[in-house]
Symmetry: C2
Subunit: 140 residues, 2 copies
């Protein structure tokens, strides 16, 4: 049996979130990080604090990555109400080989708030590089 590669839950600690007045001196992203650190994450998932994931208009923002999986970036995370959802999502992600949480299992927030995804380092090109570019049909 092959060991499951580790997963990182990256949390942007600079996110200002959607609130006008944060509950304390920490930015909402920092509060989200601390709440997750206090809550604890599933086995195999490591919490990482990141100095800006640059999705500043739709924070709080997190990302899941690790092993040869797709990296997923998610926005509009609430630092108080989304802790269980994030922990569940991280566990589901960690259980995959490729980072693709089956759609029916995927938490609703992660279905609707994916900002972007990035392929694993080792991925098959979606177009065979040996194939010449498709001609512009209007030019034929």
């Amino acid at each position: 049996m092959t060991a499951t590669p580790p997963t990182e839950l990256l949390v942007c600690i600079k996110c200002r979130g959607q609130v006008e007045t944060p509950a304390d001196d920490r930015r909402p992203g920092h509060a989200l990080h601390d709440a997750l650190a206090a809550r604890g994450l599933p086995q195999g998932v490591t919490l990482r604090a990141v100095d800006c994931l640059q999705n500043c208009d739709h924070g709080c923002t997190v990302a899941l990555r690790g092993g040869n999986r797709w990296t997923y970036v998610y926005g509009n995370v609430d630092e108080a109400s989304h802790l269980d959802m994030l922990v569940d999502g991280a566990a589901l992600y960690h259980a995959t080989d490729d980072g693709l949480i089956p759609w029916r299992q995927r938490p609703e927030h992660l279905k609707r708030n994916c900002v972007a995804r990035v392929p694993p380092l080792d991925f098959a090109d979606a177009i065979d590089p040996a194939t010449p570019p498709m001609p512009n049909l209007t030019e034929i």
Copy 2:
């Protein structure tokens, strides 16, 4: 002298872009990929076609990554008018060690259309994990 690590320019070939009627049967993201393939990229930069970067509301979308650099995802790319900008941006990115194109050199489109960035695999946590979470100041 250390060799510069390779750079990948990832192009989402599923992007529908902002146009109502594409110029041909290809999606704008696919047309962008083909135009870049025909134009050629700077030395050290490889073009990769990706089956969806999931920034579908703000396509066309591309990403720059490679080596131990930050990965940057950019949206709202025009498949016709942004080729030179992308090639310039890819060259500037490739010239960095960390993926951070100096702000003054950064093409205007890349300044304003960063969707997200993801840290390199080997990065320093923005919060020392040995430091206990900051207390909620309202609770003191």
